[in-house]
């Protein structure tokens, strides 16, 4: 009787242009590159994947359901560069089989630095999603699944019924991520990512060195069916860009995704659910106690990808130190620029972890080095700071 709960993260940052210390204007973002990337990913992923989901919903007569978290900054970019993507998400929203999750508008680390800013950004996001798609669920996900007990509490205070977190082994121990849990002191449902099955699709699907390659729908369904009697829900949380961008079309990822529901639903007790539905249907079976911050990043599942070195903590500290000055100024453009600088990607680019080894961090990095990204960011921040005076 497990249900499959798909949640796809959809996000693109506003990448900065090369901004030298000698620059003095306030055009910080690389509009051309951002538009280009948006268009490219729309063609490779968002549009075909949305079509696929739409077809699946129709084909399975509502039994196929998914959820999305679209960041505010990606929605801004869709509106500006690829309005057809907004339309296709609208079409999905109209089926009633899609849930939209809530998060910080700017995909930020505000929860760690400014509770007021965090609350403001969640409200902004909720409003944006409601305006565009007419429905917003009762589930919250924080940037990069950064989570602790305090976050669960903050989400509860904002009225959410469920919150999403990484199924971190060091907290779960022997327990399964396929149940619903609760934090020690807050009445909210915690849904945990089943990172093994999620990563089988997101990271390993096309890896020919993987012993399970090639991954077929039959094999994957078998693994899902093994959960029978041992869980309520298999939470498959991943970047939407997995479909067509991280795993290219020629790997067969779309065929896999399109045929998976057939195979899953072949078993009469299986179903697809959205996070809010899962939270609604099941009471927590136990406590998920996260006194320290966790995330879904890297093998460490900690914050070191954004806060692992002196440059990152310095950049974040300097950025949030401007909050009151920016807000006091009453300048919407300034506030908007300041918020777009909060997007976690800017700090991810500064990560020195694994830098010399050339890995996934490099793949997503528009800079040649973490040092270049820090220098660029600080030059922009300097100019922004001068505008608050």
């Amino acid at each position: 009787m497990p249900s499959i709960c798909f949640y796809f993260q959809v996000h693109q940052p506003f990448r900065l242009r090369r901004y030298s210390v000698f620059d003095a204007d306030s055009n910080y973002f690389d509009d051309h590159k951002n538009a280009m990337i948006c268009r490219k990913v729309a063609e490779k992923c968002y549009l075909p994947a949305n079509q696929c989901v739409f077809d699946l919903i129709k084909r399975h007569d509502g039994r196929f359901r998914v959820s999305y978290a679209l960041t505010g900054v990606v929605l801004d970019q869709f509106e500006a560069y690829t309005p057809d993507v907004i339309d296709s998400f609208r079409r999905l929203a109209e089926t009633g089989c899609v849930e939209f999750l809530c998060e910080t508008y700017h995909h930020s680390l505000a929860f760690l630095y400014s509770r007021q800013e965090f609350v403001d950004q969640v409200a902004l996001h909720r409003q944006k999603v409601e305006d565009l798609f007419g429905n917003v669920g009762t589930t919250f996900r924080n940037t990069e699944l950064i989570y602790n007990n305090e976050l669960a509490d903050a989400a509860h205070q904002l009225g959410f019924k469920a919150v999403i977190a990484e199924g971190a082994d060091h907290i779960l121990g022997y327990r399964s991520p396929d149940y619903v849990y609760r934090p020690p002191a807050t009445p909210i449902h915690v849904l945990l990512k089943n990172y093994r099955l999620s990563d089988d699709i997101a990271f390993r699907f096309s890896n020919r060195g993987w012993s399970e390659w090639p991954l077929t729908v039959e094999k994957f369904s078998r693994w899902v069916n093994q959960v029978h009697g041992n869980g309520y829900t298999v939470n498959l949380f991943m970047d939407y860009e997995t479909l067509g961008e991280h795993q290219w079309k020629d790997t067969g990822i779309f065929d896999f995704f399109y045929h998976l529901p057939d195979e899953i639903l072949r078993h009469p007790h299986n179903s697809f659910r959205t996070p809010s539905e899962v939270a609604e249907m099941h009471e927590p079976v136990g406590e998920f106690d996260a006194p320290h911050l966790i995330s879904w990043a890297d093998t460490e599942r900690d914050l070191s990808a954004w806060l692992g070195n002196a440059m990152q903590s310095n950049a974040l500290k300097e950025l949030y130190a401007l909050e009151s000055a920016v807000k006091a100024k009453g300048d919407d453009d300034l506030l908007n620029d300041w918020r777009r600088l909060q997007t976690s990607d800017h700090f991810y680019y500064m990560c020195t972890k694994y830098f010399a080894d050339g890995d996934v961090h490099k793949y997503f990095n528009p800079y040649e080095s973490p040092y270049d990204s820090y220098i660029n960011f600080m030059n922009v921040l300097d100019n922004l700071a001068s505008r608050t005076k």
Binding site: S20, V21, N314, T352, Y371, Y374, M378, N379
Partner: protein
């Protein structure tokens, strides 16, 4: 393995990275248990003789010396010695100025042998006896090499003389492979390899295109080309250099390998007087001040930085044929009072200037490798290097810039001076990264190439 190695300079008699690399490689080979006979054309100058622990020559080297005693000419004499930390290395040096080291103390320990030029083996069309090289070319070569006092004089006749003597020395030695460092030793290497039939490996630390841009000295280029084509295997210090060797010298790709240089772990924490108390930041250029090293780009960037902030001083440490032009340029730019020229620094002065520096900049136009940035990092100084350098292939935790992009160079210099966390992160990761670059690994890289050379020579 026994290696007959032909070098041109060796610490402490060095003017650049070549001597440092030869020291590191031979030391690595010695530690790996290989035996090296290192032949040098340099004088043992009394000024630095204390740095060399002269030892009684071994029987083997004495035998080699004895093989030369039939020479009748006064042209040169030969010195055999060992250095304490290089157990498996025998040095054979061919002094060019006898009086330079003829102190009684040293002379007592050194076996000296006269060798000569009036050699029946040399026929009239001997390639190493080429009299066609004109004085102007020779002087030009000396100047362009930028090595200052160590390279002055009649370069080509030195090179030829060295080749002759090396061939004679080799006759008395037993070895598996001949290894020659840079163009000055290629002719010697060819001569030794031809005489002994041993595989011949050359090591390209720099090419004429690096030193002289497009204005190559044809004579030197020809020697380099000859060496590269005669060699069984070619070792380049970077892929940058390998590409030049393939593109400009027409070397077959399958015989050219890359072995990176390294850095000795900075074990000695010499207690230095505290750096001068400074309320200004210091940006350091340390190296030969020659066209190849891009001093004018450093100055152009300095000017940009000074337009942005005032409390910065730029130190240019080194000598070279562009020092005068650089001083003039600084004055013309109106930043003369902010740029300090120290001349060539040695020993503690080098450590002291690193201690003062907030950033080391190597804006080289063309740098086959570039050991100096590794030294800066080993002194905990963050580094900004040009992308046109071999060392940028092995370093990640440094700042990189195109040498011509002085705006970006200034942008990055300012960032380091302005943001302590940037400096700290570069320093922390950089000093860790260089620990992975050891001379033992480089030496092993050379050994692997020797083995490949032996295999391809069918041995």
């Amino acid at each position: 393995m026994n290696i007959f190695m032909l070098g041109w300079e060796f610490p402490p008699f060095i003017s650049g990275g070549l001597g440092t690399a030869c020291y590191g490689l031979t030391r690595g080979m010695s530690e790996l248990g290989h035996h090296v006979i290192f032949v040098l054309p340099k004088p043992v100058s009394s000024q630095y003789a204390t740095h060399v622990r002269l030892k009684t020559p071994t029987k083997r080297t004495l035998a080699a010396a004895a093989a030369l005693t039939d020479a009748t000419d006064e042209e040169g004499a030969f010195t055999a010695y060992k250095m304490k930390e290089l157990e498996n290395v025998d040095f054979l040096s061919i002094p060019s100025a006898l009086q330079a080291y003829a102190t009684p103390d040293i002379a007592a320990k050194v076996k000296r042998t006269k060798i000569g030029d009036a050699d029946p083996d040399f026929d009239s069309d001997d390639p190493y006896h080429d009299a066609s090289m004109t004085t102007s070319i020779i002087e030009d070569a000396g100047r362009q090499d930028g090595g200052g006092e160590d390279y002055h004089g009649d370069m080509f006749s030195e090179v030829r003389r060295y080749a002759r003597l090396a061939r004679r020395l080799a006759a008395g030695e037993d070895f598996d492979v001949v290894h020659a460092h840079d163009w000055m030793t290629y002719l010697a290497g060819i001569a030794v390899a031809e005489a002994t039939g041993k595989p011949f490996v050359i090591h390209v630390h720099s090419t004429e295109f690096d030193r002289s841009g497009e204005h190559v000295n044809q004579e030197i280029y020809d020697i380099e080309r000859r060496g590269i084509h005669a060699a069984t295997k070619v070792i380049c210090v970077s892929h940058l250099t390998r590409n030049i060797v393939l593109a400009r010298y027409g070397a077959p790709a399958d015989k050219v390998e890359v072995v990176y240089n390294a850095i000795e772990s900075n074990g000695d924490s010499a207690v230095l007087p505290p750096a001068i108390k400074k309320d200004e930041k210091i940006v350091l250029f340390l190296g030969r001040i020659t066209m190849q090293k891009g001093p004018e780009y450093f100055l152009a960037a300095a000017k940009k930085v000074l337009e942005y902030r005032d409390n910065v001083r730029f130190i240019m440490a080194g000598s070279g044929d562009m020092i005068r032009r650089s001083i003039e340029m600084a004055a013309e730019m109106g930043i003369g009072h902010k740029v300090l020229f120290t001349g060539f620094l040695r020993g503690d002065d080098v450590a002291r200037v690193y201690k003062m520096a907030d950033l080391y900049v190597m804006p080289s136009v063309s740098e086959p490798f570039g050991i100096a940035p590794l030294e800066a990092l080993s002194h905990d100084v963050p580094v900004l290097i040009s992308k046109q350098s071999g060392v940028s292939e092995v370093l990640s935790h440094v700042l990189k810039v195109d040498f011509w992009d002085v705006n970006e160079m200034a942008n990055k210099i300012i960032a380091v001076l302005k943001h302590p966390p940037l400096q700290a992160t570069l320093r922390e990761h950089g000093s860790f990264e260089i620990r992975k670059l050891t001379w033992n690994d480089s030496a092993q890289g050379c050994i692997d190439v020797y083995q490949a050379a032996l295999a391809s020579a069918g041995r």
